[in-house]
């Protein structure tokens, strides 16, 4: 490190952390961006900002949470640690030394300030911040409501697609239907759906492009732009003109003559040209003559002069031959080009129209369902801020008034987000003090173009902030993460990379951290084994061996072997100098792949080697076998005639049926024509069934009986418990999978639980929803279960998914794979970083059909795509703290791959010459002897807690009141119960002295909330009781001392009881109890029960009213009464 570097470093933090200054920081991977950003928040708080005045936006919820947790932890330390520690923390964060003492009390109070602040600090993502804005939007913006966020849009999109097609079909011949037909006819259903789905994904950009001018005008504008540079009229019949061009015809005839006297292959061309001559259909004619002039790649054939040829054709003939080739070739090419452009134009005309209509349908559908998605949120936020009154409203309406805005991972921002943010700044400037802005990011780590992130924004935003906010622009190239050895290779790979013109050499913060880079030789083709596959292979003995798969399998085996050599052998530094350490564990290793395509082969190798691993497969939960087992089970419960599902469940560890068991059932099915597997299984004689099938039959019968009554989660819970699912999987899957399988089973349970907490779920619906989700793109389906700290397993990620992660050891397998091509049928967008809306919006089907206007943009895009590929490599390499391992298989294009770049760099660093068959290795050997064992980690705490064995047993507790009714009981019982309650309430109203007079019946009926007929019946019964002379003394206030209804009492045992009516006389007390029905109809046992109950009341009253006689009276609403005495 030079003195210059040191100076820079010293100057860096004080500037970056000064909360009064706006700053843009470009910071390399592992440089501690989060540290910087959170420190800056601390400084802002120290400077007196209220938490509500701070807005920090980052890219994922995970990162936002992490920042918030870190902030809380630091402030807690500042509040609770000793003075020295607190001072040191302030100094590290560049608080001027002379201010430290003065600020110390402030610092100590920040923790509680943060915790109690109202409004609190906002640390969030763009989407949730936008959502917050939307929720607080002014009413006249027309977006108010409680729409829920649809995180899974696949089903909705399917539905919109369906509706859209139906709408179009309803008006055949209308422009929309014509456009859709054009697409279907020319490009087929799949590609049509593809281009329209892509349009839908970019509909926010389309709206921005369209602005306020309306769809038709926007389509017109887009089409006009496509015409630039095209010198052919769009409705010209280019082909027809070509076909009927007499000059060409005669040239071709001439050419045929020449060709036939030339080489053998030319003679063949001549033959085909001759055939073409009579072709009336222009398109077929062109197709036939084309190969005479062009190669299959579409290039003009190389036809050159040669002496031999001149001899064959004569000199003049050769000259004509070359001239015709040239001139007709050029004509054909130009015509083909013109045709392609016309196609492109028509394609856009149709696809933009359909896209806009589909988007409209989709929006309408979401409005109906009251859901919104991320694109809507972004768009609404942007629209809100476009109207200045609304913008002002929003700024005032939010409880928080931001004075400090911090933006993290800025390279991942998309144009609409940045535009919206700028609108916010501008509106804020109008009503408020403008905030200080802190931006941190790294253009080198921009890898989310597919999610519309725009790397070019970084430079643009820097400019904007410099100009309008006087922002300082800083860069940070010191990695706190990577060991020097890793950085050396990183530097060598990228320093001279032309696409990385802004690359600055990275320095290691921990100059002595041990590190290592290994580049394994590529797995080469085994020529002999691969050339000829065995014909007519014996299927029972030899499986089909696909060469590429077997090469990959070898690489995977090498990976597994490599990991086995690392675990327990290599030493992982626990401190930054590498002096204290421990042996490597599985959890220290992260495998990073570009794509998941071949992941299964690597996983298989790991399983085979017994290496525990977890794949955080985005959207993978539903594809894991264990979860598919359970889905199959649920599907069987929904549709028990589904034989395959039943067989699947039986084979799963839930039951663990053997092949022989399945054969038993299959034989039974064969015996009885037409039965399902389940019917057959139900009928097999007990003696014939083994233990496994007996158990399966018993459990499945139970579950089937409950399938339509239990909520999904409860059903699944019973299944897990009664079938001992977790334990059985634990036993039945390879050790390497145990952790992952258990996590996935839990995650699936959670899925059911969450779904159950949603609305209107039934088992069939749950199962149907899962089917839709399984078919949905990966982003939407649920992720595999996350394994807590408990799982010591190798982690497998894609590079995209590894953003923000790191590991001591990173392995990049399959690093020599070539990059993927663009598929076509995509949206092409040009949104200049500083523009208010896109300058270009179009779609393209295939490369050949791009118009000149599109080509220009595509070239720029290609450059970015290439740069992004390098970014991916950069991100992958810089995840490694200590060791980076790289491997791959030989494949076409592998010489330009990341593998080769790393290999070249490592070879240079190791100063070895390239020998492709050798391993290249630099850095430390991670020799165990060198390090000192980390004591803390090896101290295993012994548990001293005594466990009550009864915790593992059932503990029946509580009772469920034998509900009077179960499904299937007669309705009259339920009605009786309700009637009773209402009668009580009516009597209470009619006889309570405190209640207003006997009020009118209407009031009473309203109070009881019953129908007329029911009320009449109640009223009749009440009248009968009240009118009965023998009961008069209990209801006529002049005849008793006092009386009360619904008298609560509590007994010695703590039971609370309620007496229907308690009447107190001079010398006696009477307990009244109302029962529905007539005395005559009551069963004797029930009567005894009633008597006992009232007798108990009387006993209690005897103790309460000492000296008075106590009696009970049961009055039946339908007539009759009994006296109870004690």
């Amino acid at each position: 490190m030079t003195m210059d570097d040191l100076d820079k470093l010293r100057a860096f933090n004080p500037q970056a952390l000064d909360p009064a200054k706006s700053v843009v920081v470009s910071a390399c991977a592992g440089s501690g961006k989060t540290w910087l950003l959170v420190s800056r928040i601390v400084r802002a708080l120290l400077a007196g900002a209220a938490p509500g005045e701070i807005l920090a936006i980052t890219f994922t919820r995970k990162a936002a949470r992490e920042m918030h947790t870190r902030l809380t932890a630091w402030l807690k330390a500042l509040a609770t640690e000793d003075d020295a520690t607190a001072r040191r923390m302030l100094i590290e964060r560049e608080v001027p030394r002379n201010r430290v003492d003065a600020l110390l009390p402030v610092a100590r109070g920040l923790y509680e300030t943060l915790l109690t602040a109202e409004p609190g600090i906002t640390i969030t993502t763009f989407h949730s911040w936008f959502l917050q804005l939307m929720r607080r939007a002014p009413l006249d913006a027309g977006v108010a409501g409680d729409a829920t966020l649809a995180e899974e849009a696949a089903a909705l999109i399917d539905e919109a697609w369906q509706r859209f097609a139906e709408d179009a079909a309803r008006e055949p011949g209308a422009p929309l239907a014509a456009a859709l037909d054009h697409l279907f006819m020319e490009y087929g259903p799949d590609s049509t759906r593809r281009v329209l789905a892509n349009f839908l994904a970019r509909r926010g950009d389309w709206w921005a492009y369209a602005g306020d001018e309306g769809t038709d005008a926007a389509i017109e504008r887009a089409l006009t732009a496509l015409r630039v540079g095209i010198d052919v009229a769009l409705d010209d019949d280019v082909l027809g003109a070509l076909h009927s061009d007499a000059a060409i015809k005669s040239q071709v005839s001439d050419f045929i003559a020449l060709l036939s006297t030339n080489t053998k292959s030319d003679a063949a061309h001549a033959q085909r040209l001759r055939e073409a001559l009579g072709e009336h259909d222009a398109a077929r004619w062109l197709k036939k003559i084309w190969p005479a002039f062009f190669t299959s790649e579409g290039d003009l054939r190389a036809r050159k002069a040669s002496a031999a040829q001149a001899k064959r054709l004569t000199a003049d003939g050769e000259a004509r031959y070359l001239a015709i080739h040239q001139s007709v070739g050029t004509r054909l090419q130009a015509a083909q080009q013109a045709i392609d452009w016309q196609r492109a134009y028509r394609f856009n005309r149709a696809a933009l129209r359909c896209g806009a209509a589909l988007a409209q349908t989709y929006q309408a559908l979401k409005r109906e369902r009251r859901v919104i998605d991320y694109t809507d949120i972004e768009w609404h936020a942007h629209r809100l801020l476009c109207v200045s009154e609304h913008a002002t409203y929003l700024i005032c309406k939010l409880d928080a008034r931001y004075k400090h805005v911090l933006l993290d991972e800025f390279q991942d921002t998309n144009p609409l987000q940045w535009l919206t943010l700028r609108q916010w700044f501008e509106a804020a400037t109008e009503v408020d003090a403008r905030p200080s802005v802190f931006v941190v990011g790294d253009p080198k780590q921009s890898i989310y173009r597919f999610r519309r992130a725009e790397a070019r924004l970084f430079a643009q935003a820097t400019e904007y902030l410099r100009a309008h906010f006087g922002a300082a622009v800083l860069s940070q190239d010191e990695s706190r993460r990577c060991a020097p050895a890793v950085l050396e290779v990183v530097n060598r790979v990228f320093a001279d990379e032309p696409a990385f013109e802004d690359y600055r050499e990275h320095r290691a913060h921990h100059a002595h951290k041990p590190g290592r880079v290994e580049v394994l030789p590529l797995i080469a083709k085994d020529e002999q084994a691969e050339t000829e596959l065995t014909p007519w292979r014996d299927p029972f003995v030899a499986p089909l061996a696909v060469p590429e798969d077997s090469r990959r399998a070898r690489e995977a085996a090498q990976l597994a072997q490599g990991i086995q050599n690392i675990v327990g052998q290599w030493w992982i530094a626990d401190d930054d100098h590498g002096t204290v350490g421990r042996a490597a564990r599985h959890g220290d290793i992260m495998i990073l792949v570009r794509r998941r395509t071949h992941l299964e082969i690597y996983e298989q190798a790991l399983r085979h080697a017994g290496i525990p691993y977890v794949t955080s497969r985005q959207g993978g939960l539903l594809d894991t076998l264990e979860v598919r087992d359970l889905i199959a089970l649920l599907e069987f419960l929904v549709s028990p005639f589904d034989d395959l599902k039943l067989a699947h469940v039986l084979r799963s560890p839930v039951f663990g049926a053997s092949d022989a068991d399945l054969i038993t059932i299959a034989l039974a099915v064969r015996r009885e024509a037409g039965v399902t597997w389940w019917e057959a299984l139900s009928r097999i004689a007990d003696a014939e069934l083994g233990a496994t099938l007996t158990r399966a039959r018993r459990l499945l019968t139970d579950w089937l009986a409950r399938a339509d009554t239990l909520p999904v989660h409860d059903q699944l819970d019973r299944i897990y418990f009664e079938a001992d699912v977790l334990a059985r999987y634990h036993g039945a899957v390879p050790a390497a999978l145990r952790g992952a399988v258990a996590a996935n089973l839990n995650a699936f349970m959670r899925r059911a639980l969450d779904a159950d907490a949603g609305r209107y779920l039934s088992l069939p619906r749950f199962v149907a929803d899962l089917a839709v989700l399984r078919a949905a793109p990966a982003v939407e389906a649920p992720d595999e279960g996350v394994i807590g700290d408990a799982g010591d397993a190798v982690r497998i990620h894609t590079v995209h998914g590894a953003k923000g992660l790191e590991a001591p050891i990173v392995w990049l397998p399959d690093a020599a794979a070539s990059e993927r091509n663009n598929h076509g049928y995509e949206v092409l967008l040009d949104w200049p970083a500083d523009a208010a809306r896109p300058a270009h919006f179009s779609v393209w089907a295939r490369k050949a059909e791009q118009t000149p206007a599109q080509r220009a943009i595509v070239e720029g895009e290609d450059e970015i795509a290439q740069r992004e590929n390098l970014n991916l490599l950069y991100v992958a390499m810089t995840r490694a703290r200590q060791a980076l391992l790289v491997s791959g298989i030989e494949a076409p294009g592998s010489d330009r791959s990341g593998y080769q770049k790393i290999r070249a760099a490592a070879s240079a660093a190791a100063a070895v010459t390239q020998d492709a068959s050798q391993i290249v290795c630099i850095g430390d050997k991670f020799d165990p002897q060198k390090y000192q064992l980390n004591q803390i980690l090896t101290n295993v705490e012994a548990s001293t807690v005594e466990i009550d064995a009864r915790l593992n047993q059932a503990l029946p507790t509580g009772t469920r009141q034998a509900r009077a009714l179960h499904v299937g009981e007669p309705d009259s019982a339920r009605a009786g119960l309700q009637y009773g309650t209402r009668f009580h309430r009516l009597m209470e109203r009619l006889t309570d002295a405190a209640q207003t007079p006997r009020a009118d019946k209407a009031v009473l009926q309203r109070a009881l909330d019953v129908t007329d007929t029911e009320f009449d019946a109640l009223w009749r019964d009440a009248e009968r009781v009240l009118g009965d002379p023998q009961f008069r003394r209990y209801f006529d206030a002049s005849l008793y001392l006092n009386a009360a209804n619904e008298v609560p009492l509590i007994t010695e045992r703590g039971d609370t009881l309620r007496i229907d009516r308690l009447v107190v006389f001079d010398d006696a007390v009477c307990v009244l109890d109302y029962k529905t029905g007539a005395l005559a109809g009551v069963a004797p046992e029930l009567l005894d029960e009633y008597r006992a109950q009232v007798a108990a009341y009387c006993v209690h009253m005897t103790s309460a009213f000492a000296g008075k006689r106590v009696a009970g009276l049961i009055i039946f609403t339908g007539g009759g009464s009994i006296v109870v005495t004690v």
Partner: protein, 909 residues
């Protein structure tokens, strides 16, 4: 929180209930055991039983006639009014009606706005806030509070609130519950005679304060409130952790003071914090902790379920162990299966009986309740099979036709009822009450009402509907179906279902229901920032500073209140565990701020973070398992079952043969076990459906025109198109998207005809299509089996030579690759074999995009057919001799195989 000048007795928070009870009993010793003459007002009714118990303990009599123990709301609710009360639903409908014509609201959800407005108006009434007479003045007032300049949007908000507030206030004919409340309270106070005790009330509304003052003028009123004094360690600790308003001391200073006053932590034995790694662990922690407490003899255990979802999981785990839980919070009615059947019925109505919805409805135990359960289930399963086979998507008439086709009387009966029920729901605008009438009529028809009556949640849903019918009888707002449905959905989501049949020492409840209750132990579930604060649901109207200005409670007040509730709970409960998830998925979680402060305080004062130590050990070493823990299956190696002789098929098709080559185990599953994927209802016609259609079209076409060159080009094309339309008609009629495949095919027609002509030029003429053939093959061991197949097409040349042709929708390239290694794809050799001797050529025809090309089988045809026959014959013998059928598909085979679940490939070691 003492109010006004009424006598207030401060009591230690830990013993608030008991102390208040003994104070009350002491004052009425003479009347014992009859305390009926007094009234005790408490903040939440759930505490009534606890207060009663405390009174009895204080009274020490065998039985106690209880005072009226009630809340102010409950008490007031019992007072009759002389004016009718306008239901909440009616008011909401009124507001909705007023909002309906507000065009500036654009697409906004008016029901949601009406709901928010109603809540706001109730709040304003409760806090006795009145709005200025002039709308402009109100707008100015708001703008001041917002610190904003004049702004159209603010003015709109102000005008809307102002106008509707006055509109609602004008409806003097009826009262609303919130406005009636003060009147009712006043009525109680006006006739007061009983002594009144207020225990632990928090945050009184103005009308309530007024009530106590008025009451006190007629009868004695005493209030009891929690108030820590200097000797009360736990009270002081909690007060130190959550100091009132702007306490000047920092955390450290307060901690030191606390330590000085109480050298030992009052929390140490009482409270602990458990951080769970994930939701499942937290739920298990609740389960194990509750059972551990039960085993330790604790009688009253509360789980304060801040996180309802995890609580539900915990409840299921407890029930596994036989521990029933009394759940006081209940569930949203919308989550019950009783409400689900209602929603599904409306889906059926609005979605023209979309097959998923229809089957789902019919599978509900509530539907067709008058039918025997098993019979209904069997009938529905039959229907499902018909539907899948025939791919009927929707339309009740189509389903009925299907039932008739199958002569299934029962299914037809059920469907006819659905149809009648559908007719009961009209498509015109009507009032909510009339919509509900139509709804119940239709549900009666399909037996759902009967089903509901037999179920407790069902009864609640039914009552709920009846309740609205009554409450909205006079409402005249006419709504279209969709808007009415939105209304109904909102109501169902707001209502909750409480099952009250359980008696148990274990109670799940919410924080607001805990004050004054005594528990032996309590677990607070979900102590993270998300669950213990309401920061996320900002009201639609106004913001916090406006609320301050108007005199409405703010979020700060809410936060203070939940601190007070927590403090009471912790003080009154001898053992409290706070649990939370340290991670939510892959994200870190934040502890709720009050808990953060409490723990930090204890650490500063006593150096202890209060981490729960026992629970992790309990979790690690306990596992409740079902009695049935029968032998665990061993790890599954790749299976290779010996072929079961009795199951070996006597006939093998070309695709069966291909399967055998690709993976013998797959062959076993498919052709020995005879398992296959059931038909799914084809919503979008897919590639295989497309293939089927094309085969049908071409066979029909060539049957009519065996020699296409004999027909004029345009005539041939026209005819082929007409046949195509006809064949596709059914699919297109069922689903507009099928048209895409039709058009796709039509665009291929010229190419196809050209190819066909070229073929005829080569001398090949179509001879037969869709030809089913069989061949008996004798194996080396002398067995016989049948080889069979359906040939797409056979062409013949004038010399008698025959060509076997198979149409494929795959690309030429893919087909060439498939045919590259002899013996991997045996379809063409098998077809050649099936046809017999004269076959000179066997080829696929690739019909991909707009090209039609021939892909001939490479190599010597005779040699290929011989090898194909020989290998299969040997294989059949091998199977009969019990050869193992190993699972060994290459990745390309596995990708298309449905038997993953049987071979268990992904779990092989």
């Amino acid at each position: 929180m003492p109010f006004h000048d009424l006598p207030s007795i401060p009591l230690a928070p830990a013993a608030l209930t008991a102390a208040a009870a003994s104070e009350i009993v002491n004052r009425h010793r003479a009347a014992l055991p009859d305390l009926r003459g007094t009234v005790i007002v408490i903040p939440d009714l759930h505490a009534a039983a606890d207060v009663a118990r405390a009174l009895r303990v204080a009274a020490q009599t065998p039985v106690l006639l209880l005072p009226r123990i009630t809340t102010l709301r409950q008490w007031a609710g019992e007072i009759p009014l002389d004016k009718p009360l306008q239901s909440r639903a009616a008011r909401e409908a009124l507001l909705y009606g007023a909002l309906a014509d507000q065009t500036s609201l654009g697409d906004a959800d008016r029901w949601a706005i009406a709901g928010e407005l109603l809540a706001l108006f109730d709040e304003l009434t409760r806090h006795a806030v009145t709005l200025p007479q002039s709308a402009a003045e109100f707008a100015r007032q708001l703008e001041r509070a917002y610190r904003a300049r004049q702004n159209r949007s603010f003015e709109f908000e102000a005008a809307l609130v102002h106008e509707l507030w006055h509109l609602m206030a004008k409806g003097t004919r009826e009262l609303d519950a919130e406005a009636a409340y003060p009147l009712r309270l006043a009525q109680i106070a006006a006739t007061a005679t009983s002594p009144l005790y207020a225990v632990g009330l928090r945050q009184l509304a103005p009308s309530e304060k007024k009530f106590f003052d008025a009451y006190a003028r007629r009868a004695p009123v005493v209030q009891f409130n929690a108030h820590a004094d200097d000797n009360d360690a736990i009270g002081a600790t909690l007060a130190t952790a959550w100091p009132p308003a702007e306490s000047t001391d920092g955390l450290l200073a307060r901690a030191h003071k606390l330590h000085a006053a109480f050298p030992d932590s009052a929390l140490a034995q009482r409270l602990s914090l458990f951080g769970a790694a994930d939701p499942e662990q937290e739920a298990r922690a609740v389960d194990v902790q509750v059972r551990d407490w039960l085993l330790a003899g604790k009688q009253r255990i509360a789980v304060i379920a801040l996180d309802r979802v995890t609580a539900r999981r915990a409840r299921a785990l407890l029930e596994r162990a036989g521990v029933l839980v009394r759940d006081e919070s209940g569930w949203p009615m919308a989550t019950t299966s009783a409400a689900t059947v209602l929603a599904r019925w409306l889906d059926v109505v609005s979605g023209d009986a979309w097959h998923h919805d229809l089957l789902d409805l019919m599978k509900s135990p509530f539907a067709f309740h008058d039918w025997p359960r098993e019979a209904r289930k069997l009938a529905v399963w039959r229907l499902e099979r018909y539907v899948r086979k025939a791919s009927v998507l929707s339309g009740i008439a189509n389903f009925i036709a299907l039932a008739e086709q199958h002569n299934d009387v029962e299914v037809r009966q059920l469907l006819a009822r659905v149809q009648r029920a559908q007719h009961a729901i009209p498509r015109t605008r009507r009032t909510i009450a009339r919509w509900l009438d139509a709804l119940t009529a239709s549900l009666t028809e399909i037996g759902v009402i009967d089903g509901w009556r037999a179920d407790s949640a069902g009864t609640q849903v039914f009552d709920f509907i009846e309740f609205f019918k009554t409450g909205l009888r006079d409402n005249t707002l006419a709504l279209p179906f969709a808007e009415w449905r939105r209304w109904l959905t909102r109501q169902l989501e707001a209502a909750s279902f409480v099952e009250s049949a359980v008696t148990s020492p274990v109670i799940f409840t919410h924080l607001a229901a805990t004050p004054l209750r005594s528990f032996d132990a309590a677990l607070v579930l979900g102590c993270d920032a998300r669950h213990l604060s309401s920061a996320n649901d900002a009201p639609l109207f106004f913001n916090q500073s406006v609320r301050v200005q108007l005199g409405l409670p703010t979020r700060q007040d809410e936060a203070r209140d939940s601190e007070a509730l927590l403090a009471q709970l912790i003080a009154a409960t001898p053992r409290v565990v706070l649990s939370w998830q340290t991670h939510a998925g892959a994200e870190e979680n934040l502890l709720a701020p009050p808990i953060e402060r409490l723990i930090a305080l204890n650490r500063c004062a006593y150096g202890d973070e209060l981490a729960e130590t026992r629970l992790p050990a309990l979790l690690a070493h306990s596992a409740l398992r079902c009695g049935d823990t029968s032998s665990v299956t061993p790890i599954m190696e790749p299976p290779a079952p010996p072929a079961e002789r009795a199951l070996i098929p006597h006939a093998i098709s070309a695709s069966g043969y291909n399967t055998l080559i690709a993976c013998p185990y797959q062959f076993h599953a498919r052709y020995l076990l005879r398992l296959g994927q059931l038909d799914e209802v084809e919503e979008l016609i897919d590639k295989s459906g497309y293939g089927r259609h094309v085969h049908e079209i071409l066979t029909a076409f060539h049957t009519a025109h065996p020699r296409v060159s004999d027909v004029a080009a345009d005539v041939a094309a026209m005819h082929l198109k007409a046949i195509s339309d006809e064949v596709f008609a059914r699919s297109v009629g069922r689903n507009a998207l099928a048209r895409a495949w039709l058009l796709r095919w039509k665009s291929l027609i010229p190419g196809y005809l050209e190819w066909q002509r070229a073929r005829e030029t080569e001398g090949w003429y179509w001879q037969v299509g869709e030809a089913a053939r069989e061949l008996i093959i004798r194996t080396p061991a002398g067995r016989e089996f049948k080889l069979m197949g359906r040939l797409d097409r056979v062409d013949q040349r004038s010399d008698g030579a025959v060509a076997v042709v198979d149409y494929k929708t795959r690309s030429e390239q893919a087909l060439r690759a498939a045919l590259k290694t002899p013996g991997e794809d045996v379809q063409l050799p098998v077809y050649a074999l099936l046809w017999g001797d004269a076959v000179a050529q066997a080829s696929y025809v690739s019909m991909d995009r707009d090209e039609v090309t021939t892909v001939p089988l490479p190599g010597e045809l005779d040699a290929q057919t011989d090898s194909a026959r020989a290998r299969l014959a040997t294989a059949v013998d091998a199977m009969h001799e019990g050869r193992a059928l190993p699972a060994q598909g290459a990745p390309s085979a596995c990708a298309w195989c449905d038997m993953h679940g049987l071979c268990r490939r992904l779990h092989w070691p």
